[in-house]
Symmetry: C2
Subunit: 196 residues, 2 copies
DNA sequence: CCCTTTCACATACCGTCGGTATGTCAAGTA
DNA sequence: TACTTGACATACCGACGGTATGTGAAAGGG
C-alpha cells in the first residue's frame, strides 16, 4: 500500500475530477464530451473508465466534491457563532455567498438535478447540506426560539429560495446591492418563524 | 391558405410536440432520442427537422407550452379573487398545485434550466409566469398592503421556494398533509411582508 | 534475484445519437 | 396543364458514450 502504484492512481483520479469539474462548469454536462476531459487530464478513456463507471458517475463524484466544499464553508461560518439563531442566519448567508460561484451554480444547482434525477440529487444534498438546515431548525424549535411546526416543508422552502436567489445573484448587474436586498428579504422570511 | 397543406402541417407539428412532451416527461431530455419521438409521432426525422431547428428547439417549444398552461391555470385561479392580497395567495397556491404534475416537474423545473441554460429558462419563466408575481407584489406595495422593498429579489426567493416545494411534494408519501404544511409555511412567509 | 501476478492504464472497436444533404410527390398557382 | 412550392421521407455522416482486449511496470513470493 501507499507505494508508487496507489499514489499515481490517486493523482490520476484527482486530475480527472479536477478537469471534469472545470469543463462541466465551463460548458455544461451535456455539451462536454469524455474525449475532451481525458485530453485535458492527459490520459485516455481507458483510465477514466478504470476509475469511474460512466460519465454520469464521474459527474456524481464531481458533484459530491462541490457539495462537500459548500457544506464545509457553510458549517465553518455557522460554527463561528455562539447563539443558535445567529448560527442559522450565518449559515444561510454563507450558503448564499458560496452558491454564487460558477461551479456551484452549474454543477450543483443546474445540471445536478437533470443529470442524476431530482430524487438522487435531493438525497445527496440532504446528506451534505440540507441536513444541517433541518438540524438547526429542529434545535431552534426545541429551544423555543422558533415556533414548532413541521420542519421538512420549511427546510425545502428555504433551501429552494436560497438556490434560486443564488442563481439570480450570479447574473446580477449590481451584485453587492442585490445580495444585500436578497439577504434582507431572506432574513425577514426567517424572522417570520420566530416565536412571539 | 388554410388548405389541406397547412392543416396537415399543423397536425404534424402538434403530434411532435405532444409525443415529445410525453417522452421528455417519462424519461427525461437526455435519455430520449429523436428516433423514439418521430416513431411515436409516426413521422421521420426529416419531418421533425422541417418543423424544429434542433432537439433543443423542440424541447424549448414543449417547455413554452407547459409554462403557458401553468401560467393560465395560475392566472385563472388568481383572477377569481377580488382582493389583491387574496389574489397573490390564490396564485401562489395554484402554482404549488399545478407544479406537482409530472410534466411540469421534469420539463419545467428539472430539465428546463439544464437544457436551455439558466438564463434562457429564467427569461422564459419571466415572460410566462414570474412577471405576474412581480406585478402582484408591485401592486400590493403601491396599495400599501406590503411594505415597499426591492421586488425582484423577493420574487426570486418566493419563486425558488415554490419550485423546490413542488418538487418535494411530488415525491411525498403524504401529499395532502405535506401540501397543507408547505402552504402553511409559505403563507407565513408571505405574511411576513405585509405592512404593519 | 527472478519469476509470477496484479493492476493501472492504453488501444481499438462498436452501436447509437443528433444533425444534414438530397430526393420525392402531392398541393397550390398562373 | 405546366410549373412551382412545400411538407415531408431517405440516406448518410461525424461524434459520442461505452466496452473488450492488450500491455508494461510495480508489487509479491520463493
Amino acid at each position: 500500500m501507499d507505494g508508487v502504484r496507489s499514489r499515481q492512481r490517486e493523482q490520476t483520479r484527482r486530475t480527472l475530477l479536477r478537469e471534469g469539474r472545470r469543463l462541466f462548469t465551463e460548458r455544461g454536462y451535456g455539451t462536454v464530451g469524455l474525449a475532451e476531459i481525458v485530453a485535458a487530464a492527459d490520459v485516455t478513456k481507458g483510465a477514466l473508465y478504470h476509475h469511474f463507471e460512466s460519465k454520469g458517475d464521474l459527474f456524481r463524484e464531481v458533484l459530491r466534491e462541490v457539495q462537500g466544499e459548500v457544506a464545509a464553508r457553510v458549517a465553518a461560518t455557522a460554527d463561528a457563532e455562539d447563539d443558535p439563531w445567529d448560527r442559522l442566519l450565518a449559515g444561510c448567508r454563507a450558503f448564499l455567498a458560496a452558491s454564487t460561484a460558477p461551479d456551484v451554480q452549474r454543477i450543483m444547482l443546474v445540471d445536478g438535478p437533470a443529470v442524476l434525477g431530482w430524487a438522487e440529487w435531493r438525497a445527496m444534498d440532504e446528506a451534505a447540506s440540507a441536513r444541517h438546515l433541518v438540524d438547526a431548525l429542529t434545535g431552534l424549535m426545541e429551544l423555543g426560539t422558533i415556533a414548532p411546526r413541521p420542519v421538512e416543508p420549511l427546510a425545502h422552502l428555504l433551501s429552494g429560495a436560497m438556490n434560486e436567489a443564488a442563481l439570480w445573484l450570479a447574473g446580477s448587474a449590481h451584485p453587492d446591492r442585490d445580495l444585500d436586498d436578497a439577504w434582507s428579504a431572506l432574513a425577514r422570511m426567517l424572522e417570520a418563524f420566530r416565536a412571539r
